[in-house]
C-alpha cells in the first residue's frame, strides 16, 4: 500500500469521482470518500455499491456541505479520522474534491512526497498579506458571526454583517491562534493532521470555527501553524480563480495547457470533458517530465484573458469594454517613456538605454529625496530644479513642464513603488506616456540587500501593496497610456524580446537589432527568497511564479552579425 492517502469530497458527477478514485487505488493509494448528505439515498447506495469491491476505498460519515459553512470542514475531519485509523501506513493525506484530476502519474506524487516526509503542503498566509480575497470580508470573517446562509439568504447575511459592524460587535479569537488563510486543498502529514484532530482543545477550536465565514479556507490553515514543523505554503492542487473569485473550469481544449503545468492535481474539471479524463487517467506513459510543478505557465495565459477583458483596446467599443468617459486632453506635449522595474533588474540599464537610444534618460524622477535628473544635475532646461518639495507641490505641472522644456528630445525616466505615487493617475491617463512595467521587480533590491528578514518582510508587503494599486490604475478602463506589463517571471524568460519591442516603439531611428544587451543582476536563489517570504506568511505574487529550485537565468548574447570570409 502506498504512503499517500487521498480524501475526496464528492457531491456531483459521481461517476467521474468513481473513475478518479479507481485511478488512485490502482496505484495503491487508499481513498476515503465523503459524499455530501444532499445526495439522495438511492444514488448514494448505487455509488457505494459500484465501489464496494475495492478494499482500498472507504466511505466516511456524511455531512451536509454548503459553500462557506462548517459542513465542509466537518466532512474533511471525519474522512481524515477514518483515513488515519484504517490505513496505518499512510504518511501524507491529500485532500481533494470530486472534480479534481491527477495530471501526473500517481507514483510521481508518491515519490515527491516520500522525498519530503516531514513537509506539510498547505497554503497559509495571514489576512493582511493575501491578494485573493474578493468581496470585502477578510479579517472580519474571523471576528463577526455568520448565522445566515450567503447563498440562500444574501439579504439577511449582508444586513447582519452591517449591523455587527455598526454595533462594533466582535468575537474573541481563541488564545494562541493567529488566523491564516489559503487554498482549502492541502496535503498534510500524519503527524500534523493527527495533532490537529486529537488536540484536547479541539472542541474549543471547532466551536469557534463553526461560526467563521468560509472555515474550510482557514481551519486547517490556522491550526497547521500550531503544530507543523515544516510548512511549505503552497497547494499541490492547481486551482485557478477568475476575475470574480470563482474557480476556473477546465475543458477539453485546456489539455495542452494542463500538460504543460507540471502540477500533480488540477481542479475544477468539467465532468463532460471526456478527453481530459481519458488523457490523464488512462495514459500513464507520463507525457510530463519530472519537474517542479509550475503553475506560472497557466497563470500567464489566464492573465492574458483577464487583461483583455478588463482592459480591452482603446477606441474600440465592444462588449468587454462598455464605453465610459474618456477625457481627450493630454497634459503633455510629446511622447515620453516610463520604465518601471528595469533599473532593479539590470545593473546598467540607464547608461545602456542612453547609449542605445540617444534619448535623455533620467533616474527616478519622483523619488522621495530628489528628482533624479539625468546626469545627476540639479537643474534642467527651463530652470526646473531637482527639489522634491517643488516637485511635490504640483507633480502634474512638474511633468508637463519637463516634457515641454525638453521638447525635441525624447525623455525617459524610471518609476517604482518607492516613488511619489501622486503622479500615477496622470501617467495612466496620458496618451503620450509609454509605460513599461516589470511587476514585482522591487523584490530584487530587497533580495540583494543586507537587512534583517523582518524588515525585509515589512518592506515587501508595503511595496507590493503600492505596486498592486499602481497596476490597477494602469489597467483601469480610463487608461490611455501605452502600457506594457510583464511579470518578472515572464520577463526574464525571454528578456530580449520585450526590450526590442520597447525600443521599436521609441522611434524609427532605433537600430533594427539590439547589438548590446544590459547586464541582468544575478538571480540565483531568488526563488527560494520568495518561498521564504511565503513561508513567513507574506505572499509576494506580483512577480509571477518562480519555481523554488530555479536554474540560472542567462541573458542570451545577441547574435553576432554574419560576415563573409574571403579566401
Amino acid at each position: 500500500m502506498s504512503t499517500v492517502g487521498i480524501i475526496m469530497l464528492v457531491h456531483t458527477a459521481l461517476d467521474r469521482a468513481a473513475e478518479v478514485a479507481r485511478h488512485w487505488t490502482a496505484s495503491g493509494c487508499p481513498v476515503v470518500l465523503h459524499v455530501d448528505k444532499n445526495v439522495d439515498g438511492a444514488t448514494f447506495r448505487n455509488f457505494r455499491q459500484s465501489l464496494a469491491q475495492d478494499p482500498l476505498i472507504k466511505f466516511s460519515k456524511r455531512h451536509r456541505c454548503e459553500w462557506g459553512t462548517w459542513g465542509i470542514v466537518a466532512a474533511s475531519q471525519s474522512a481524515s479520522m477514518l483515513m488515519l485509523k484504517e490505513f496505518q501506513e499512510v504518511r501524507h493525506v491529500y485532500l481533494s474534491s470530486g472534480s479534481c484530476l491527477p495530471l501526473r502519474p500517481v507514483d510521481e506524487l508518491v515519490d515527491y512526497l516520500a522525498a519530503r516526509p516531514r513537509t506539510d503542503f498547505i497554503e497559509s498566509a495571514t489576512t493582511a498579506d493575501v491578494p485573493w480575497i474578493v468581496g470585502g470580508l477578510d479579517f472580519e470573517r474571523f471576528t463577526l458571526r455568520f448565522p445566515f446562509s450567503w447563498k440562500r439568504h444574501r439579504y439577511l447575511f449582508d444586513r447582519y454583517v452591517d449591523l455587527q459592524r455598526r454595533l462594533g460587535m466582535r468575537r474573541r479569537i481563541p488564545a494562541g491562534l493567529v488566523p491564516h488563510m489559503g487554498s482549502q486543498w492541502w496535503c498534510l502529514t500524519r503527524q500534523t493532521l493527527s495533532a490537529i484532530l486529537e488536540d484536547p482543545e479541539r472542541p474549543t477550536y471547532d466551536s469557534y470555527f463553526q461560526k467563521v465565514w468560509i472555515p474550510d479556507e482557514s481551519y486547517y490553515q490556522t491550526l497547521a501553524r500550531q503544530y507543523s514543523t515544516n510548512i511549505e505554503s503552497r497547494s499541490l492542487t492547481l486551482s485557478k480563480f477568475d476575475f470574480q473569485g470563482k474557480p476556473h473550469i477546465f475543458y477539453d481544449d485546456h489539455l495542452q495547457l494542463l500538460r504543460r503545468s507540471d502540477c500533480f492535481v488540477a481542479r475544477k474539471i468539467w465532468p463532460r470533458a471526456d478527453r481530459l479524463y481519458q488523457a490523464f487517467l488512462t495514459d500513464s506513459a507520463g507525457a510530463m517530465k519530472k519537474t517542479e510543478p509550475n503553475p506560472g505557465k497557466i497563470d500567464r495565459i489566464f492573465a492574458k484573458a483577464v487583461e483583455r477583458r478588463t482592459r480591452g483596446r482603446p477606441g474600440l467599443y465592444m462588449q468587454s469594454r462598455f464605453p465610459g468617459r474618456w477625457s481627450v486632453n493630454s497634459v503633455t506635449s510629446n511622447p515620453y517613456s516610463v520604465f518601471h522595474g528595469f533599473t532593479e533588474l539590470f545593473e546598467d540599464f540607464e547608461s545602456w538605454l542612453t547609449r542605445i537610444t540617444g534619448a535623455r534618460v533620467h533616474g527616478h524622477l519622483f523619488a522621495p529625496e530628489r528628482a533624479e535628473l539625468s546626469g545627476g544635475g540639479a537643474m534642467i532646461n527651463g530652470a526646473l530644479s531637482d527639489s522634491a518639495k517643488m516637485r511635490d507641490y504640483n507633480v502634474q505641472s512638474f511633468l508637463t513642464n519637463l516634457i515641454w522644456n525638453t521638447r525635441g528630445e525624447r525623455q525617459c525616466f524610471q518609476f517604482g513603488p518607492g516613488d511619489n505615487q501622486k503622479i500615477c493617475k496622470v501617467l495612466a491617463r496620458d496618451p503620450n506616456a509609454q509605460i513599461s512595467v516589470i511587476s514585482g521587480a522591487w523584490a530584487v533590491p530587497l533580495f540583494r540587500s543586507n537587512q534583517n528578514f523582518t524588515e525585509l518582510r515589512r518592506a515587501a508587503a508595503r511595496l507590493q501593496q503600492v505596486e498592486a494599486k499602481y497596476l490597477n490604475q494602469l489597467r483601469d478602463q480610463e487608461t490611455k497610456a501605452r502600457v506594457r506589463i510583464w511579470t518578472m517571471a515572464e520577463f526574464i524568460e525571454a528578456p530580449m524580446e520585450p526590450l526590442q519591442t520597447i525600443l521599436d516603439e521609441l522611434g524609427p531611428q532605433m537600430p533594427r537589432h539590439l547589438s548590446e544587451a544590459p547586464t541582468m543582476v544575478n538571480l540565483d536563489g531568488f526563488g527560494q527568497f520568495l518561498q521564504n517570504l511565503k513561508n513567513q506568511g507574506m505572499h509576494p505574487y506580483l512577480m509571477g511564479d518562480f519555481p523554488v529550485e530555479q536554474g540560472p537565468v542567462n541573458m542570451p548574447k545577441p547574435p553576432r552579425k554574419p560576415y563573409l570570409v574571403r579566401k
Binding site: G135, G136, D158, D242, F243, Q244, K246, H248, I249, Y251, D252, D253, W270, R272, F302, A305, R309, G312, R313, L316, Y317, M318, Q319, S320, R321, F322, P323
Partner: protein, 347 residues
Amino acid sequence: MTREAHTAAWGLQGWGAKYQMRIRRRRLLWRCLRSRHQLKVLADRSDRIGADDILVVAVLRNERARLPYFLQYYRDLGVSHFLIVDNDSNDGTAALLEEQEDVSVWQTKASYRESRFGVDWAGWLLMRYGHGHWCLTVDADEILTFPHADQRNLKDLTGWLDQRGAKAFAAVMLDMYPKGSIGAVPYEEGTDPFELLSWFDGEGYTWEYQQRYRNVSIRGGVRKRLFFRDNPEQSPHLHKIPLVRWNRRYAYVSSTHIALPQVLNQAFDHRLGLPTGVLLHSKFLAEVIDKSAEEKQRQQHFTHVERYTQYYDNLIAAPDLWGAESVRYKGWQQLEALGLMTQGDWT
C-alpha cells in the same frame, strides 16, 4: 457585485417605474397565454423532453431550404428538442418538420404582425414547455456561435452559466452577405449557408445604454451601412437575448431583443464577466429577393410599414452588399478579436 455598486452603476429606478415594468410583463404574459388558441398542433412530441434538455423555440414561414442545416447544426450543438410554430408555409416546411423525431410542430394561419412578430406564440410555448429549461429562441436564419464553439457545446456553456448563477446569455446579430450580387449563387439545401455568405461588417457598430429596459442597444452592420444611412435610428437592432434559463414568468418584449424582467438584459454588462455570442444571420441568401417582394405585399414584418418600402425595393434590386471594408468570416476567435463577442470569465 454588491447591491450598492449595482444600483449605482445602473442608475436608480423608482418604484413607479419598476411597477410599470411589472404590469407590462403581466400584460405580455396574458397576450402569450391568449395566443395559444391560434395554434393548431401538428405533431406534439413534448413528452420526450427530459429534465435537463436544452430547447429551441422558433416561429417560421417558408424555410424549407434552411431547415435541414438549421436542425442539424443545433442538434450537434446539444439541443434535444425543437418547438416550432409554422406560420402558414406553403413550401412543405410543415411536412418536413413533422417527420423529425425531435420536433414538436404547431401551425397557425393568424397574422404574424398581430402576434407581435411571432413573439406571442413563442411566448406561449416557452411558458408551457420551457419552464426551468435553457431555451434558445431563434429564427430559422439565425445560427448561434459563441467562444470556444469549436471545442465546447451548448451544454458546457449552460452548465457554466448555471454555476455562475446567470439566467441569460446575450448575442449580437451579425448580417452575413456574399461578395457580388446577392442573387448570384443559389443556396443548396443542407449546406452551410456561411460558405456563400462569408462576409460581414467588422466595424461601425454603435452601442447605447437604454434606461427604460436597462438594455444595451446595438445597431450597425451592412443594413445600416447601405439602407439606413440617412435614418440610422430606424436601422434594425442587433442585440439579442436568445438563450435564457426560462421561467414561466419571463417575457420577451420585442422579438428577442429585450426581455423582462430587466435583469435578463444585463447579460451584456461586461462587469458581470459573462461570455456573449454572435448570431450569424443568413438572411441574404438568394431567396431574399423573392421573399422581399412577397413581404412587401404581405406587410407583416415591421411596425411602421411605410418606412420600409424603400428597404424592400433596395433588396429586390439584388444589390452587391460587399464593400472594401468587409471582413471575411473565419470563426469565433476572429469575432472575439474584433470585439463582437467576449469570453468573459469563461476561458
